[in-house]
Symmetry: C2
Subunit: 207 residues, 2 copies
């Protein structure tokens, strides 16, 4: 039994994504997307396109470049590949998120999780594809995600360390859209990134 089974209902106005699932939606300019970790120690992958033109997409590289940092929090901007602000982080009670790694995919499990022996595994990439399909997004267009609540750090040799998220039950992360966005969002499917158990994620959109 996962932690999810013992979690109470989401707060009013919030939608719960079951463990290892995802969704997609329109977030209009000015609207705020709030992502809540209801149980603690759970990652949520976020990706976005300009709703007007999918040629404009969330760019980890431009965001890292212009922010001059790899950890983002309240007040920071998320930039598109065209160097325009797509969203502003307006709330963050956790303080640790990752913008280096791609969403987990079937190939992630094939390459990095030999214990699954190549069997089908739910993944953020598949769930983002499914969530964004309604807007005509092709899988090849999904690039590096903002991995909300994901706890990744590098040592001085450049080696990555993926530790359990530091998020506690009820931790919140919110962005305000700076343009109309098509958003993909997941409750991450990779056991090792989530303290060993995949759990739900709650989200809400407010004006």
């Amino acid at each position: 039994m996962t932690s999810a089974a013992s979690t109470s209902s989401p707060a009013d106005g919030f939608t719960r994504m079951a463990p290892q699932t995802g969704t997609g939606f329109l977030l209009r300019a000015g609207q705020v997307l709030t992502v809540v970790d209801p149980t603690g120690v759970q990652v949520s992958d976020f990706f976005a396109f300009s709703a007007e033109d999918h040629g404009e997409w969330l760019s980890s590289g431009r965001t890292i470049d212009y922010g001059n940092k790899v950890y983002f929090t309240t007040g920071d901007l998320l930039y598109s590949n065209r160097s325009r602000p797509m969203a502003t982080i307006v709330e963050d009670t956790c303080g640790r998120h990752d913008f280096l790694l791609t969403p987990c995919s079937q190939q992630t499990f094939d390459l990095l999780y030999p214990e699954f022996e190549g069997a089908y595994h739910p993944s953020c990439f598949e769930n983002l594809c499914l969530g964004l399909e309604q807007f005509g997004v092709e899988p090849d267009e999904i690039s590096t995600t903002l991995n909300i609540f994901m706890n990744v750090w590098t040592d001085e040799t450049g080696e990555l360390h993926i530790d359990p998220p530091t998020s506690k039950a009820g931790d919140r992360f919110a962005v305000r859209a700076e343009m109309d966005l098509h958003v993909g969002l997941t409750a991450c499917s990779a056991e090792k990134s989530n303290g060993g158990v995949c759990k739900p994620i709650d989200y809400a959109i407010s004006d």
Copy 2:
């Protein structure tokens, strides 16, 4: 006068890119691209698409994920967004390259270099666009580049530090293509990333 003016000719078989320029070419599977810093302290941005299908492109996120590191050197694989090896690093006499930042663009200079007051500035992004245009690549398709010889590190707070490249005159970095590639390559245009002066880059393709 830049260092470029006092640099001797490239070695036999090598082509010299003038400071703040770039190029594009087909690199067939099995061929080796060797990039040389002829003067030292100069960055070269590298990006690639599968020549058969530009929907498959160099992915910093997948490369970082599967390599479990942010610094890449001899023996490491460069992955595509489809999780397939695009190239293998087969030689590296420098040991410090960046895969976090996007190519410098006009907006980079507008946002980060106020001393240029928004004036036109050559950029790796423009030069990659020009170099890859012959293959039908659209600017929006160019994502995070491998920034050969670029010296970027993060401190424990996640802040980025961009120091002068550690490359010395004659340092080499080479990749073997694992599939037919359309490659864009530059002599980086950003003064601050190159010890204050933009210099040439030499490259060669061998079977």
